[in-house]
């Protein structure tokens, strides 16, 4: 099977890769580009651990083909911190202990960032609905929701 050549932008940097036609973007990110921050929880769109943005829109990278990324702008968890400086959401997740095993965390962070970009002042209900496609087996969600609300508050002040 001949591979497909894809040119794309990932976290602002140009990237090129070869992939198979049936390879998902998640597999490309993890196995070809070494960007293992995006996780595979289910592979069927149910858990959100693989969340990335494509041209600014939040999607599951497990339900997108790598070949579709050609010419698009991809945003992953690796683009969230600026060098050593954590994004306010990351800081708040630590402060609120909004993670235990951590497998869901990159997905929650990418999804929450995309929410706050659209809606800097979400209600708790809005946060819960926006994050309904992100599953966490450990925290019971409460700490995550509080961390997101608190980060939003801080970011509005900044």
């Amino acid at each position: 099977m001949s591979q497909i050549h894809v040119s794309t932008t990932i976290n602002g940097d140009e990237a090129e890769f070869l992939c198979d036609a049936d390879e998902t973007l998640l597999d490309v990110l993890r196995d070809r580009l070494g960007l293992t921050g995006s996780k595979e929880g289910c592979g069927t769109g149910d858990c959100g651990a693989c969340s990335v943005t494509v041209d600014g829109r939040l999607v599951c990278s497990c339900l997108m083909l790598g070949a579709e990324a050609d010419g698009r702008e991809i945003g992953t968890i690796e683009g969230m911190a600026k060098g050593e400086e954590l994004h306010p959401l990351q800081t708040k997740f630590l402060e609120h202990a909004a993670l235990q095993c951590g497998i869901c965390t990159p997905g929650f962070l990418v999804a929450a960032k995309s929410l706050l970009e659209r809606n800097p002042k979400p209600t708790e209900t809005e946060v819960r609905y926006w994050l309904a496609g992100n599953l966490c087996r450990c925290t019971g969600y409460d700490k995550i929701v509080r961390a997101v609300m608190d980060a939003a508050k801080d970011m509005r002040r900044a």
Binding site: D22, C60, L63, L65
Partner: protein, 287 residues
């Protein structure tokens, strides 16, 4: 497997026509990729339609709105005129999956996947939506209800794909609404769904109505007796009761762990009644 992303719908149709083996259209992939991963389908050719300009546009047309086959539901919810004119259709698409799924899932994909529980299909049928079907040689406009023929089955030929879906101009004083029941509050597939579209005259008497039920039969059900119960009334309590009973009577649901037959028959009537009340309110608020 081959992957192609053509620039025009005609080229897409030509690719499908010439496919050796099975060709599949890729819109948002939220059904297709899940099916490929589980081994349910194994296409030889994938045609990504998202580089086709006509597939990516939401455009006003003769008082109606034309939605491209590649437009994700998130874009529909963000479109003010669409939400204002066809709130029932937009709220049905907004129920599909999570935020992530809505970033990709399309109306055309929801339709062509042909699941009996597809949320947007009853809502589209209720307002008389038309699909623009493009093949290698010809183009046709067909009512959305003609596309799905049974679970997982459509009337599309091998070379045909849906380029766009037209939500036609609404008559004055019209409203539509869609409601579904799921055992959770988010991220689940409908146990029953009901879409209602109705129009009023200047005195508030219902002149036209459609009641379409989802997930309570192998295909959507056009509950004609239920619609008839509304027409000629002011959509008052008595008319609503009659329409609710007509919905329960016509439903042909399955029995499974997510809902018994009796429950589904009952709840589809309740949903239709409540949807009619919302549609009525919207019709009174519209010009």
């Amino acid at each position: 497997m081959r992957f192609e992303s053509p620039q025009t719908t005609k080229d897409a149709a030509a690719l499908l026509a010439g496919a050796k083996g099975k060709g599949r259209v890729l819109a948002g992939g939220t059904d297709l990729l899940v099916q490929m991963k589980s081994g349910m389908v194994a296409p030889d050719l994938i045609v990504d339609i998202k580089r086709i300009p006509a597939m990516k546009a939401i455009k006003a047309e003769k008082g109606g709105m034309r939605i491209g086959g590649g437009v994700p539901s998130a874009e529909m919810s963000e479109h003010a005129a669409l939400s204002k004119g066809w709130p029932g259709v937009v709220e049905s698409a907004d129920l599909i999956g999570s935020t992530q799924i809505q970033g990709r899932a399309t109306l055309a994909g929801n339709l062509c996947n042909a699941s009996p529980a597809a949320d947007s299909v009853p809502a589209m049928v209720a307002i008389g939506a038309k699909a623009r079907v493009v093949g290698a040689k010809k183009r046709r406009d067909v009512l959305v209800e003609k596309i799905v023929t049974g679970p997982g089955k459509t009337s599309l030929a091998k070379d045909e794909l849906v380029e766009s879906i037209l939500l036609p101009k609404r008559p004055p004083r019209s409203g539509d609404a869609y409601l579904r029941f799921i055992p959770r509050t988010e991220m689940d597939i409908a146990v029953a769904g009901a879409a209602v579209s109705l129009s009023l005259d200047t005195k508030g008497v219902c002149t036209d109505a459609r009641v379409i039920l989802g997930a309570v039969g192998p295909r959507i059900i056009d509950a004609k007796a239920a619609a008839k119960a509304l027409i000629g009334s002011k959509v008052d309590k008595a008319a609503l009761k009659k329409m609710e009973e007509a919905c329960s009577a016509v439903a042909r649901p399955i029995d499974d762990k997510r809902g018994t037959k009796e429950f589904r028959k009952h709840v589809v009537g309740v949903l239709a009644r409540r949807a009619a009340q919302i549609a009525l309110k919207r019709a009174k608020g519209s010009k």
